[in-house]
């Protein structure tokens, strides 16, 4: 059995869950893996710019929206234009979207599939280890909003309305 979260955390979660979209209710929460370096950090293959690896640490100081998605997932694809827009709009304020595809198959093939969506933000191939670090991704789209210190302040499962996403990002940017 997984360790139970403390009462304080639990009450916060309840508050939070009132705001998450239906289906986005986190169940069986696990404490974030603790470690000296940023626990959720990863360095993976960059599908948009294969020359340089994609590292979460390199966005330290920025607000990051991690989007776990798959090219075969219609709701995920539906959200891509909104994420692209949000990135373009809020990039100057220190915001970045990092796409993490969970597609199976050779990187070149996935890169080709991803390329068709014309995304302006970085996209990486998230293997099992990265999925595991974020609680074991079981479904997509799943998104995490990270503050400038790399802490997860919000997580979403399922399609999130663009307005809500913008409001959340702006709130975290304003901190």
């Amino acid at each position: 059995m997984i360790k139970k979260p403390g009462p304080f955390l639990a009450s916060l979660l309840i508050l939070l869950s009132a705001c998450t979209p239906p289906g986005g209710k986190p169940e069986k929460p696990t404490p974030a893996p603790s470690g000296e370096t940023a626990p959720l950090d990863f360095t993976i293959q960059n599908l948009v710019n294969p020359g340089e690896p994609l590292s979460l640490a390199s966005y330290k100081g920025q607000v990051v929206l991690l989007d776990f998605w798959a090219t075969w997932c219609p709701p995920c694809r539906f959200e891509l234009p909104a994420l692209n827009r949000l990135y373009g709009e809020l990039k100057p304020k220190g915001f970045v979207v990092v796409g993490l595809t969970v597609d199976n198959g050779p990187a070149e093939q996935v890169a080709q599939a991803v390329g068709k969506f014309g995304l302006s933000y970085p996209v990486g191939l998230a293997g099992r280890d990265v999925q595991q670090a974020y609680g074991g991704i079981r479904a997509v789209p799943t998104k995490f909003l990270l503050d400038r210190n790399g802490n997860v302040v919000k997580q979403y499962q399922g399609v999130v309305p663009e307005d809500q996403l913008r409001a959340d990002v702006e709130a975290v940017l304003a901190l």
Binding site: I2, T30, R138, A139, V140
Partner: protein, 528 residues
């Protein structure tokens, strides 16, 4: 606004939010092996929660070391996917698929892969392997709490007591006719009055005319239509040097062969209760037809000369002419036998009426199938006479003959292939293999009935067989029509394959539904 405060508070306090681990996949799958039939069948049950769906194209079921032959796989729904803007074929409810193993394997590993989504969320593709064995119905990775046993395959007969037969129809139906039949059945008008009362209502003379016309139309069924050029060639070959009268006579003899044979076929069905057209399910029948056609094609190419005088035991000068009459008579008989694989509503009507009249002591009723054959024969004397108008034979006639030879050779190949196909289907287990498909169909029938009862839906049963030309034609046309597909979504659709309609267990089912020939469609409604 509370949300902003919460996120702000969290961030301010520098508390990292825990990363959630979500509940496992909402879908579940289970596979069982049922060994109650002659050959084991594999059933795969999918559980799809409300608001979720599985993509039909991503559902894959495979067995180790052999192939799974689908017996009953529900048709997916086509829905508009608002995210991709495309139509997708999906399963939105719990469903079960039944397969049989092409080659016996025990134990067998069955791997089920699928991928599904909810309204806004897609779940990772999943794959599960079950080890199934006859001695252990619920095997392998079966999900806890869902132990399945062979018990769920109740006898279809006991389940039928919960249904009323709302309608029954036979033969090839176009979209309009099928829809009308479905609507009529559900509104209580699907039960046409029985053959005898139709006969009384219409009167004897009108019925006879109707039967003759129906017989005439039998020439247009997919069983007889391809034979028309062949038969014209054979009659024509005899008529080429003859007069109009000779052509008429040849056509007449051809028609007589047709009518007598068709009459006999009907007689056998009425007197013994066997199923019409079942002969076409026999490998030997198809093989013999293939050989007959092959020999005929050789005759067309002048490779051989069919000299029927030998069989006539006569050396009279007219013997060869007589011989040709015999050949034409045999071809008429062959056409009638092949026509048996195509059942039209008129055929069913005639057989029922003949049976009913005979049952009332009117032996004359037994003459009715012959009348139907007579109707089928009607155009042939005239066709024969028409052929005698052809110009006198010359070089061109040889080429026409060769062309017919090619057509006949194609027919021979087709029937040869049919014989081979039936032989292959029967091969795996000569004693029990024959029963495998119908047994499996029985399971599908029982399954479909209980599903209909659960969902309160009417049932549409399509009795068919691979040798039934009209059944195949239905699958390729009417049953493909989107209007029909949409209409049938309101039904639990059961395809009952009666490959050997004269042998149990198929025969029991067909007898129960009073199915005389294929295709026949039956609509059942749950009793209130």
């Amino acid at each position: 606004m509370r949300m902003f405060r919460t996120t702000a508070l969290l961030a301010f306090l520098g508390i990292a939010m825990p990363v959630g681990s979500w509940a496992a996949s909402p879908f579940s799958v289970d596979a069982v092996m049922d060994t109650r039939g002659a050959a084991p069948v594999i059933r795969v049950d999918f559980k799809v929660p409300a608001g979720h769906f599985l993509y039909a194209d991503d559902v894959k079921i495979e067995a180790s070391g052999t192939t799974l032959v689908p017996i009953s796989v529900p048709d997916p729904k086509t829905v508009f996917d608002k995210f991709s803007g495309e139509n997708k074929r999906v399963y939105g409810d719990d469903f079960s698929s039944v397969y049989r193993l092409e080659a016996a394997r025990d134990p067998v590993n069955v791997t089920v892969s699928f991928q599904g989504c909810s309204e806004t969320l897609c779940f990772f593709p999943e794959s599960k392997t079950f080890t199934l064995s006859a001695g252990q119905p619920a095997g392998g990775e079966a999900e806890p709490g869902a132990p399945r046993t062979a018990q769920s395959f109740d006898d279809w007969k006991t389940r039928l007591s919960d249904f009323d037969v709302a309608g029954s129809e036979s033969g090839y139906l176009n979209t309009d006719k099928l829809l009308a039949f479905l609507d009529g059945s559900l509104s209580g008008g699907g039960k046409t009055d029985d053959a005898l009362s139709q006969f009384h209502r219409r009167g004897a003379l009108f019925t006879v005319l109707l039967i003759l016309l129906g017989g005439l139309a039998l020439n247009l069924t997919p069983c007889v239509l391809p034979l028309i050029p062949i038969n014209l060639a054979i009659i024509g070959a005899g008529a080429k040097a003859g007069s109009k009268a000779r052509g008429f006579a040849l056509g007449g003899v051809y028609g007589l062969g047709m009518a007598i044979t068709y009459g006999m076929l009907g007689l056998v069905v009425v007197l013994t209760g066997s199923k019409f057209g079942a002969l076409n399910a026999s490998m030997w029948f198809n093989a013999v037809i293939a050989v007959v056609f092959f020999l005929l094609s050789l005759a067309m190419f002048d490779v051989i000369t069919i000299d029927f005088t030998r069989f006539q035991g006569s050396t009279a000068p007219g013997a060869n002419r007589k011989g040709h009459f015999a050949a034409v008579f045999v071809m008429g008989a062959v056409s009638a036998l092949l026509a048996g694989a195509c059942v039209a509503p008129m055929v069913i009507f005639v057989l029922l009426l003949a049976g009913a009249l005979y049952g009332k002591g009117m032996a004359l009723g037994l003459f009715l199938p012959f009348l139907l054959g007579l109707g089928m024969a009607l155009p042939w004397p005239f066709a024969g006479a028409g052929l005698s108008f052809l110009p006198k034979p010359g070089k061109w006639m040889t080429w026409v003959k060769y062309a017919f030879g090619v057509i006949i050779l194609a027919a021979a190949t087709y029937y040869g292939y049919e014989a081979y196909r039936i032989y292959q289907a029967d091969k795996p287990a000569p004693s029990s293999g024959v029963e495998a498909a119908p047994q499996a169909s029985d399971v599908a029938l029982a399954e479909g009935l209980s599903r209909a009862l659960e969902e309160g839906k009417p049932v549409f049963i399509d009795f068919w067989a691979t040798w039934c030309k009209n059944c195949i034609a239905m699958d390729k046309t009417t049953f493909k029509d989107p209007a029909v597909r949409q209409r049938l979504e309101g039904f639990v659709e059961i395809k009952y394959q009666a490959e050997k309609p004269n042998e149990p267990p198929a025969r029991d089912v067909l007898d129960h539904f009073k199915v005389i020939g294929l295709p026949t469609y039956v609509v059942l409604v749950p009793k209130k």
